[in-house]
């Protein structure tokens, strides 16, 4: 199914650093206010996603960075379950794994832990992890706490647009677009500095 939140996740953990780093770079363009959709409209969509228990699949990611003439591509596989969180395995061009849980994130490479962000060190990373998992789990309330939500479509094909409401997040992320039908199928992260990341998800099995 989908994998939007990982994108979110890392970029938010980044945004913790961002407190220092990023703010300067990005003048957030004014966003057109997304038409707000009531919880009553959104919840069926999210419930629809969350109906599936464990989801596995493959993904392709295209990253468009400013000052680069072509996209940077990578691919890999993922597994999500409500119990054990999200496993995001990049296979090309290098091999690295990210495990996202409600407690934070751990990144490994070649079996070695290279990054750990937990509540004590990086509370924002935990927030990000929770947002990420909330998308998978269809947790409308968690999402609404951080974003203004807008949705259209029906359960066969729908689009959900998340615009950050808190300033710290808005300094990093301009907008996140999540697409899906029975499963999540795509994710577009537009960063405030003009970079963007598109992830296509192809779920191969669900239990």
């Amino acid at each position: 199914m989908l994998k939007p939140s990982a994108t979110l996740g890392v970029s938010y953990l980044a945004s913790r650093l961002a407190a220092w780093v990023l703010a300067g770079l990005m003048v957030a363009p004014a966003l057109q206010a997304a038409s707000e959709v009531s919880g009553a409209d959104l919840e069926p969509l999210l419930e629809h996603i969350s109906a599936a228990g464990t989801v596995e699949g493959e993904f392709r990611q295209q990253k468009m960075l400013q000052d680069m003439e072509s996209s940077l591509d990578s691919r890999g596989s993922f597994t999500f379950s409500a119990d054990s969180g999200l496993q995001w395995r990049v296979e090309e061009p290098i091999s690295t794994q990210l495990h996202v849980t409600a407690e934070g994130m751990v990144q490994t490479q070649g079996g070695t832990e290279v990054l750990r962000l937990d509540a004590a060190e990086a509370p924002l990373a935990v927030t990000v992890s929770q947002i990420l998992l909330a998308v998978f789990a269809g947790d409308y309330q968690t999402l609404e706490a951080h974003f203004e939500l807008a949705a259209h479509g029906d359960t066969d094909g729908w689009t959900l647009i998340l615009v950050p409401e808190t300033e710290v997040i808005a300094r990093v992320v301009q907008r996140i677009t999540v697409e899906g039908g029975d499963y999540l199928t795509g994710l577009l992260l537009e960063e405030a500095n003009g970079d963007s990341t598109r992830v296509q998800l192809h779920s191969t099995s669900s239990r």
Partner: protein, 792 residues
């Protein structure tokens, strides 16, 4: 001595002068900022070193004018502390007591910081990045850069990929962020304990936390804002930290104790005087004398020093005990004999005043501002009280007739004098006990022993400190050099050793300007390293190839690094302003014509040996000094105490010389009781385990003042009963006025009181046992006869 006309004219002049004092004080009090409460204000400026002084002030101002609040709820609870914290912060802002209230990082400063560093990104390397590059192993850096790109999201970059392929700027900026403690999140600043999560509210105010006006404004604002917590049913807790709260608590306590203890003792003195003299005039006259003394002392001290310290005021409260003596002698003499009492007692009280004033004047020449203030206050207070007795008292009730009956006090004293043998035995035991105690006398000059913060406030402070991992600012390294680059290079050398302490867990953290702006030498070295490793060779081409980017991108990136213009970031450049805004206490800059200085602030220390290690590190690097303000102040208190001891001895010396002119061989009878009583007091206090400090010694100066009066008057009056009545009343009033401070919870006041109380009692006891022989046999008739014969 004074004829009526001259006397009246002088009395009027005195009244006019006091009127001027009232006008001045009224104006001064309406301006505010009359009282100072910082113990530090009593001490001389640190070590006669203007640079260290400036550094201390800069660092302390940074911490002293801030308050930190944690608004928290238990981790399991459904209540989010966020909205409450925001409302609390909003109320603080609206109060106007604070110049700034924040609940999140200021994005403006951060963005300006990123702008500042961007052009210099190839020459700003963290220790870790430099290590990888200098050993020619950039692979960990390449891997990390790749991971960030292929991981979903990845860190947003401060500059584009070709402009900074290995994200050197990202490493640099991330490294500047403090670790642990307070964290920035999407919803604001947070900090967590094991069982609570807190939102952080930081507030800064203008002005000194020791100014009472500022304290009151801050406390009132916090009290009003705390009301927002009331609606939460006790689930939300508020922790506060800041010098201002401790200063306010200390000042409040001292103030309320001076007023309650002061009012209590004044009432007791009033009852005592009424009981003894049985006339309202005898109550009013001493009060007028004391009051005018205080009036003059306050006015002169304020005019001279600008502000009065609360400890001076406490010391001044003791002055009541000394300054009332002149009135008492006047009244006791008049009660017994009537007539012109002044003429009879004038030699005695003039000598008493002169010796006391000289003793206090000696203090004024010490280099300690606190002592100078107390000396001026005491001397002018005594002069004021004395002048009132001399100029005003003869105008009132001069025609009163001698009392025919002996007073209950006089009878009591006579009976007591008849039991002198027993008293002498008691005294002997006391002397013995004191002699045993005296060798055990110990001094402890720790500043913390003088802090009177309530335990609850201290507990909050400690908790907030531990959670936020903030440093108190009392310890730091001072780095000096002839120019900025020398200072930065010295910092970089010393930081290597500090890093060792941090790695060992001995030091929580440190902050130095060279972490934000490296020396030019290091920037040059870094740039060479980056150009050697990355501008040519395979590292970047392979990196871009892995990402599927074209080889021209790699070439462009390498050419960009090679062509980096040579220009260096410097702390004194105008562009460095964002750094100084962020860490304003680190860079002192040009402090005089040939000195540039900076401060390395230090976090919490993990072991008692760390200060010593730090001092050792500083000693090993020229231009670097370890400054420990707390230890320094304790050292100053020690110096202060030693100075007071010397001046105490000198004061006794002056007094002995002066009195020897009049009393010759029997001078010791006059000075002896005060001196012996002081030694006995110290011995007895030591015996009971009391540890002494500066303030016990200051009390010894008061014992000298009161004790001398006793000695002089008993001598001058040839130990007649009116004199013993006056002396006894004086001892009791002194004990009441000042000794009651022993009950105080403010350490400074407590130490004063606990010394003065036994000191004055023992002085009286000694003088009485030694000099009351004639009292036992004296009666009123012989007294009148003697008086008659002297007149003739």
């Amino acid at each position: 001595m004074f004829n009526d006309v001259r006397g009246r004219r002088s009395a009027v002049v005195w009244a006019l002068l006091l009127g001027a004092c009232v006008v001045f004080l009224t104006m001064r009090f309406s301006e505010g900022r009359v009282f100072d409460t910082s113990i530090l204000a009593l001490l001389p400026d640190s070590q006669h070193d203007p640079v260290a002084e400036l550094a201390t002030i800069t660092v302390q101002d940074r911490f002293a004018s801030q308050a930190l609040f944690l608004v928290g709820s238990p981790k399991g609870s459904k209540t989010d502390p966020g909205p409450i914290a925001d409302e609390f912060a909003g109320q603080l802002r609206a109060s106007g007591a604070f110049s700034g209230v924040t609940t999140e990082l200021d994005p403006e400063v951060q963005s300006r910081l990123a702008d500042l560093y961007r052009p210099y990104r190839y020459q700003l390397l963290t220790a870790e990045v430099r290590r990888h590059l200098s050993v020619g192993d950039p692979k960990p850096l390449v891997d990390e850069a790749l991971r960030q790109i292929v991981s979903p999201g990845g860190s947003p970059r401060a500059v584009s990929l070709p402009e900074d392929p290995l994200n050197l700027l990202g490493h640099w900026l991330r490294n500047l962020q403090p670790r642990g403690g307070i964290q920035a999140t999407g919803s604001g600043l947070v900090v967590e304990s094991d069982d609570y999560r807190y939102r952080v509210v930081m507030a800064a105010f203008d002005g000194s936390p020791f100014g009472m006006d500022r304290q009151q404004a801050v406390l009132a604002a916090v009290a009003r804002a705390s009301a927002v917590l009331d609606s939460t049913g006790g689930e939300i807790v508020l922790l506060r930290s800041g010098v201002v709260f401790h200063a306010a608590a200390g000042a409040e306590q001292a103030k309320s104790e001076i007023s309650t203890i002061g009012a209590g003792s004044l009432l007791a003195i009033a009852l005592l005087l009424l009981w003894h003299f049985r006339a309202v005039a005898s109550l009013v006259l001493p009060l007028v004398s004391i009051g005018t003394g205080m009036l003059l002392a306050l006015a002169v001290s304020l005019a001279f020093f600008g502000q009065i310290h609360i400890v001076t005021l406490a010391f001044g409260a003791g002055l009541v005990g000394v300054s009332i003596d002149y009135s008492l002698h006047y009244l006791c003499y008049r009660r017994q004999f009537g007539g012109n009492a002044l003429t009879e007692i004038l030699p005695g009280i003039a000598l008493g005043l002169m010796s006391s004033v000289l003793a206090y004047a000696a203090q004024a020449f010490t280099p300690f501002p606190g002592l100078q203030q107390m000396a001026l206050f005491s001397a002018t207070g005594l002069v004021g009280a004395w002048v009132t007795v001399v100029l005003w008292f003869p105008l009132v009730g001069a025609r009163s007739t001698p009392a025919s009956q002996a007073t209950p006090l006089g009878q009591g004293l006579r009976r007591l004098a008849q039991a002198r043998t027993l008293l002498a035995a008691v005294l002997g035991v006391l002397v013995l006990l004191a002699a045993i105690g005296l060798p055990q006398l110990r001094f402890h000059d720790d500043l913390r022993a003088l802090s009177s913060s309530p335990p609850d406030l201290l507990a909050q402070e400690e908790k907030v400190r531990a959670l936020s991992r903030a440093s108190g600012g009392a310890q730091f390294l001072l780095v000096q050099g002839q120019e900025a680059q020398q200072v930065l290079e010295a910092e970089e050398a010393v930081r290597q050793e500090l890093d060792g302490l941090v790695a060992d867990g001995h030091l929580e953290s440190y902050q130095a300007i060279s972490q934000f702006i490296p020396s030019v030498r290091r920037q040059q070295h870094n740039l060479e390293l980056v150009q050697t490793q990355l501008a040519s060779g395979d590292v970047l081409p392979e990196f871009f190839a892995l990402l599927g980017a074209s080889s021209t991108t790699a070439q462009r990136s390498q050419a960009r690094i090679q062509a980096q213009p040579r220009g260096w970031l410097a702390p004194d450049a105008a562009e460095a302003a964002p750094v100084h805004e962020l860490v304003p206490h680190l860079w002192l800059g040009q402090v005089d014509d040939n000195t540039v200085a900076s401060v390395i602030s230090l976090g919490a220390m993990g072991a008692a040996s760390v200060p010593e290690q730090l001092a050792g590190i500083a000693a090993g690097q020229s231009g670097v000094r370890y400054i420990d303000r707390a230890a320094e102040i304790s050292g100053l208190l020690t110096g202060y105490r030693e100075t007071v001891t010397q001046w105490l001895l000198l004061a006794y010396g002056i007094v002995v010389l002066l009195l020897a002119c009049r009393y010759r061989g029997s001078t010791w009878r006059v000075v002896g009781p005060a001196l012996a009583a002081t030694l006995m007091t110290f011995g007895l206090l030591a015996l009971f385990g009391q540890v002494m400090n500066l303030f016990n010694l200051l009390a010894a100066l008061l014992i000298l003042g009161v004790g001398l009066d006793m000695g002089i008057f008993s001598r001058e009056s040839r130990h007649r009963s009116h004199a013993w009545e006056a002396i006894t009343l004086s001892a009791i009033t002194s004990a009441l006025a000042f000794g009651l401070l022993a009950l105080s919870d403010t350490p400074v006041l407590h130490h004063f009181g606990i010394t003065v109380l036994p000191g004055i009692f023992l002085t009286w006891f000694l003088a009485f046992v030694a000099g009351s022989g004639s009292l036992a046999t004296e009666n009123t008739t012989t007294e009148v006869l003697i008086r008659g014969s002297r007149k003739a």
